[in-house]
């Protein structure tokens, strides 16, 4: 790796580790201190490494500097020591003896605990995702703003308020009780699911960033799978779902960053390794009698990895969408169910069902269903859909569909 690439790379991989460990030490009350110390560490690295004077082990260098900065802070900040150190997670009389543990095991533990601390329904879910990206994934504010199609100020404000709220509520950075874990895990899984979707379905044109969001969501979910207390069926189901979706990364985006819809993907580009990992975790998710939306969505995604287009495949997908909708309505699931119905039982039946739906993708769906059944009606619906389309990706797809009519 080139030197000028090394620091951004380390920032992405090491910032989150250092901050998780320091934040756990200082607690949420003083997370700003942990953030400042971590940022200072990287600032010092950028100054000292500037003239190609790289330390032999840059990661170890960062850890040592971060540890020393934390110890110095505690030593010199007498106010902090007197008023606050009694609240420190690790009881210690003297800062020099403070053990700041940057081992892999402690980093993982700290990140898991941080995950539970951030994913709290008391703050808005976008704020949870933002905080997760900043603290658990080491994304810069610019990158988060880019992912949300927002600006730096808005994101900064959002994260500031969220941290304040967590402080006010005296949220602890700790592992939940085994009795509470299922309930607390629910909020964590929703955030990870949305984080993945943010990358997978995002309107941002930055394809690398979008892929990174998905990979980060997978990395965090995998931390939960690897941990004995959180290695639960619904967690495995979510991880399986992510593997199946991710298997189509290369097939679903063309050279210009435009989405290629499922029907038109080159299935040779689907990643077999991720598909078999998805299957492995879906089997692991089948223990117990709990059937969550993640189970159903993973099973739907599993059927989508089957290349042969059979009536049986789409009948299975249809029944899974029925179950998913009965469990929890969403406009997207309603549209996909109707699409599966068309594939399984023909367009005529699906048109009757589609006419009962509403929402802004309704005309797109009807346009597709009327194609080759009644092309005049298809054109009418597609033109309405084009007027209502919100993103350029949607518009491009609709124009393609209109072209097919002629």
């Amino acid at each position: 790796m080139q030197n000028h690439q090394l620091l951004p790379h380390l920032y992405r991989t090491e910032y989150r580790k250092i901050i998780a460990v320091l934040a756990r030490l200082f607690g949420f009350e003083h997370i700003q201190i942990a953030e400042d110390l971590t940022s200072d560490t990287f600032l010092l690295a950028s100054e000292t490494w500037a003239n190609d004077k790289l330390p032999p082990n840059p990661t170890a260098w960062l850890y040592t500097v971060a540890k020393n900065k934390a110890k110095d802070y505690l030593k010199h900040n007498t106010v902090f020591e007197q008023k606050v150190s009694q609240h420190l997670r690790i009881e210690t009389a003297r800062a020099e003896e403070l053990n700041i543990d940057l081992s892999e095991a402690n980093i993982n533990d700290s990140q898991l605990q941080m995950m539970f601390a951030i994913c709290q329904p008391i703050i808005a879910v976008e704020a949870q995702i933002g905080l997760a990206l900043r603290i658990l994934c080491g994304f810069s504010i610019d990158e988060i703003a880019d992912a949300f199609l927002s600006n730096k100020e808005t994101i900064n404000k959002r994260l500031f308020r969220a941290k304040e709220k967590l402080r006010e509520q005296q949220v602890k950075i700790e592992f939940p009780d085994s009795k509470e874990i299922n309930k607390r895990l629910e909020a964590v899984l929703i955030t990870l699911y949305l984080l993945f979707n943010e990358g997978y379905y995002s309107v941002s044109s930055n394809t690398n960033l979008r892929k990174d969001l998905c990979l980060e969501a997978m990395r965090l979910t995998y931390l939960l799978v690897e941990n004995r207390a959180t290695d639960l069926p619904q967690v495995n189901a979510l991880f399986s779902l992510m593997c199946f979706h991710a298997s189509r990364f290369e097939a679903r985006i063309d050279k210009n960053g435009e989405i290629i819809i499922y029907d038109e993907q080159d299935s040779n580009l689907w990643n077999d390794e991720l598909i078999s990992r998805g299957t492995h975790y879906l089997i692991r998710a089948s223990k117990g009698d709990q059937l969550t939306r993640y189970h159903l969505e993973a099973a739907i995604a599993y059927w989508h990895t089957q290349k042969a287009d059979s009536a049986n495949k789409w009948e299975n997908i249809l029944q899974l969408y029925n179950k998913l909708l009965i469990l929890e309505y969403s406009p997207m699931a309603a549209l996909n169910r109707t699409y599966a119905l068309a594939k399984a039982e023909g367009k005529k039946k699906a048109i009757i069902e589609a006419e009962k739906l509403t929402g802004h993708l309704y005309h797109s769906l009807l346009g597709y269903l009327y194609t080759d059944v009644d092309n005049d009606k298809a054109l009418e619906h597609l033109q309405t859909a084009l007027k209502m389309a919100k993103t350029s990706a949607e518009k491009t797809q609709i124009r393609k569909n209109i072209k097919k009519l002629n």
């Binding site: 029944q319 969408y321 029925n322 009965i326 309603a334 169910r337 069902e353």
Partner: protein, 115 residues
């Protein structure tokens, strides 16, 4: 929007004559119908099926066997739908698979408890 309870009544003796394969096959139209209601965001509660057996408790602590109805009108299950009017709730009920086996759907509006 109001909530309406849909009560499914049918001749229970028909169920008892069905083979396990027939009972499995019956599942699909139910899933498709409820999936369709849910896709319209009109399914408020996916309800339950009811066991054919039951007890009836009468004044004087008298308990008798069996639901207290004609066997041809036994309640097999229920769901709750969201609809603007009785007409809409009845319209939604027209796709119910119970009608294919000569059963009926009773549509009742749910009134919130007075506090």
């Amino acid at each position: 929007m109001n909530d309406f309870l849909l009560i499914f009544r049918r001749d229970e003796s028909v169920d008892l004559q069905m083979t396990p394969e027939q009972l499995t096959a019956i599942n699909k139209p139910w899933q498709d119908w409820m999936g369709s209601l849910a896709a319209q965001n009109k399914l408020a509660d996916s309800g339950n099926r009811l066991h054919p057996d039951g007890r009836v408790v009468k004044p004087g602590a008298i308990v008798t066997d069996g639901p207290y109805v004609e066997v041809k009108e036994a309640i097999g299950g229920y769901i709750v739908v969201r609809a603007a009017s009785f007409d809409e709730a009845a319209e939604l009920s027209k796709g119910c698979p119970i009608l294919d086996t000569n059963g009926t759907v009773e549509v009742r509006q749910i009134l919130p408890m007075a506090h």
